[in-house]
């Protein structure tokens, strides 16, 4: 099964702080995604990428930057964290082809106080 590893698993930061969430997949998947999960809103797409150096804007990008440094690594950056960004963040990867499934990491729980 596809392996997607997120770090850290839990993070607490203060309002205005900088946070970087990391994601690595070891399945040679082309596509990687960052989602946030909130009760009542489901999984909302923040950013996604189809290869190293590529970045696509998702549906809720405000306040987030992302960077895909290699095929394996995809980072989510919060440069001025706000309490509204307290959430459970999932990274996912996917092979090429529209009929393919996404494989999720275990998630990072971020709390901004």
């Amino acid at each position: 099964e596809a392996a997607v590893t997120q770090s850290p698993r839990n993070k607490v930061t203060v309002t205005g702080g900088n946070v970087t969430l990391s994601c690595r997949q070891t399945n040679s998947h082309n596509y990687m995604y960052w989602y946030r999960q909130d009760t009542g809103h489901g999984l909302r797409l923040i950013h996604y990428s189809y290869g190293a150096g590529n970045l696509q804007i998702g549906d809720v990008p405000d306040g987030y930057k992302a960077t895909r440094t290699t095929q394996e690594d995809f980072f989510l950056l919060l440069e001025l964290a706000s309490p509204s960004q307290t959430s459970l963040y999932f990274c996912a990867s996917r092979a090429g082809g529209r009929a393919t499934e996404v494989f999720f990491g275990k998630g990072t729980r971020l709390t901004v106080v």
């Binding site: 596509y31 995604y33 989602y35 009542g40 809103h41 489901g42 999984l43 909302r44 797409l45 996604y48 189809y50 696509q56 998702g58 549906d59 999932f90 996912a92 996917r94 529209r98 009929a99 393919t100 499934e101 996404v102 999720f104 990491g105 275990k106 998630g107």
Partner: protein
């Protein structure tokens, strides 16, 4: 744009009764549709996905039928089990880009 609508936030059922979770979608062209299941403290994982032909996907007793005329992909099971209690997401993969869009999710609670 591409979107998925799941109208029920919470569905509570007695064990043994049939399950139906609603999913409708909007997409410019014919997308692929998926159902994911997320158990407590776990990541979502694939339950089943639509086919390009008229086959009906099935897994673990669940099935779903893609109706292009009504833009729907409802999830069904004939008899709910306690272990089916989980959060269920409908998702779509649109034509023309590699976004992967999820609905708001439906929490299924099965009681004895």
């Amino acid at each position: 744009g591409d979107s998925v609508t799941q109208t029920e936030g919470l569905v509570t059922l007695t064990e043994g009764l049939p399950v139906m979770l609603n999913c409708t979608y909007q997409s410019t062209y014919s997308p692929f549709l998926f159902w994911y299941v997320q158990h407590l403290n776990e990541a979502p994982k694939l339950l089943l996905k639509s086919f390009t032909d008229n086959k009906r996907p099935e897994h673990q007793g669940f099935h779903a039928t893609l109706h292009k005329s009504s833009s729907s992909f409802h999830l069904q099971k004939s008899s709910a089990q306690l272990s089916d209690s989980a959060l269920y997401y409908c998702a779509l993969s649109p034509t023309g880009n590699y976004k992967y869009v999820f609905g708001a999710g439906t929490r299924l609670k099965v009681i004895a």
